[in-house]
């Protein structure tokens, strides 16, 4: 697993060597690109803030718990253990929040149990759909997202089911 630690340095070294080889002014180019970061983050900030506020409100108001309770039997039917339901529900909204839940799952059930492994694979197959959609579409003229979000959520659900299945087999 140590290999993964080397990927980023290798990419960067390769890039720099390649740009020297291509006779590019590395410093100026980097600065030019980096300049854009500030504006970009500034322009996506309100969108992220709104979506995160909504999630926080849902969690403290107890709506999330109600949703977990309602959906648990459905998920069970699809082969998703009840223990990971909260993770599955929160995952589309918040990255850091779902990592916190994942950590809880490890602490309660153990990382090497079926539940623990299931949760790990679910994290790998799913994405923070709402967050990604908000950020990606915030800089476009699009007003109606059509079927984009339901489809993305459906794919996440499919990924979750597959994740539980694969964990059962392997």
């Amino acid at each position: 697993m140590y290999f993964s630690n080397y990927i980023i340095p290798i990419i960067i070294i390769f890039l720099l060597v390649y740009s020297i080889f291509k006779k590019i002014n590395t410093y100026d180019t980097f600065v030019k690109g980096a300049k854009g970061a500030f504006d970009l983050v500034l322009s996506i900030f309100p969108y992220i803030a709104t979506i995160m506020l909504m999630v926080a409100l849902m969690r403290i108001s107890g709506l999330m718990d109600i949703l977990v309770g309602v959906l648990a039997p459905v998920f069970n039917f699809l082969g998703i253990p009840t223990e990971v339901t909260e993770l599955v529900l929160l995952r589309p909204f918040t990255g850091s929040g779902s990592y916190a839940i994942l950590n809880d799952i490890y602490n309660v059930y153990g990382a090497d149990t079926y539940i623990g492994r299931c949760a790990s694979v679910i994290m790998g197959t799913s994405e923070t759909v709402f967050y990604v959609a908000t950020v990606y579409f915030s800089q476009t003229s699009v007003k109606k997202l059509s079927y984009a979000i339901p489809l993305a959520l459906l794919c996440s659900l499919f990924g979750t089911i597959i994740a539980c299945l694969v964990c059962k087999i392997l």
Binding site: F30, A37, T125
Partner: protein
């Protein structure tokens, strides 16, 4: 949804609402500062990729795939999509976001209507093939797992299946929703749970005006 939550809170615990909202805003601000730091690095490097012509090479390499998935020919757009996809595969989620935003802007028809290509990009990003789930492995190791990387193969299998499923579904939906309509119209009127799902997005969109 925000409204329902606030109403529910009035019955349960009205005091914590402002504290909680402020805390969340603060968290988001913190997240944005972190993002800014990360984006600075990646957007700087991206500019080098761009200037050195590596981006074009990568785009050329992936262009058959991208042409099939997105039906785009514009080399600039292809380049950003190629960069977005390849950084996603390496598990560099934070690097892929700025490129994804740029690709999305290039795909934007500027008419306010969504295109199949934009949906495809969202689906690919939300099913995100991940070959190295580094964060999860790190978490497993710190919670005392005997073999933290044990989940690697299941993850790769599941994520690939999901991605293929996503692409197929996106293609299918494209056929259904965009078939009889001129491309300038969005085909979202007949989705039943649209109202439930789209609230957060439409809220944020309205603020934009």
């Amino acid at each position: 949804m925000m409204l329902i939550s606030v109403v529910a809170l009035i019955f349960t615990d009205p005091e914590i609402i402002i504290t909680e909202m402020t805390n969340t805003s603060l968290e988001v601000l913190q997240l944005c500062v972190e993002l800014m730091a990360i984006y600075t690095i990646w957007m700087g490097l991206l500019e080098i990729v761009d200037a050195s012509g590596l981006g074009k090479k990568l785009a050329k390499l992936l262009s058959p795939l991208i042409r099939w998935l997105f039906k785009v020919k514009d080399p600039e757009t292809t380049k950003y999509i190629a960069l977005n996809m390849s950084s996603n595969m390496l598990g560099l989620g934070n690097a892929s976001t700025p490129m994804g935003i740029k690709a999305m802007q290039k795909l934007d028809p500027k008419t306010g209507a969504i295109t199949p290509a934009m949906i495809m990009l969202l689906i690919i990003n939300s099913t995100a093939i991940q070959f190295l789930p580094t964060t999860v492995i790190g978490l497993r190791a710190s919670s005392g797992s005997l073999s933290p990387s044990d989940i690697l193969i299941p993850t790769i299998l599941a994520t690939m299946a999901t991605c293929v499923f996503g692409i197929l579904m996106a293609k299918l939906c494209e056929k259904i929703f965009f078939k009889n309509k001129p491309s300038s119209q969005s085909g979202g009127e007949n989705i039943s749970f649209k109202n439930y799902i789209q609230k957060p997005i439409s809220n944020t969109k309205q603020n934009k005006k």
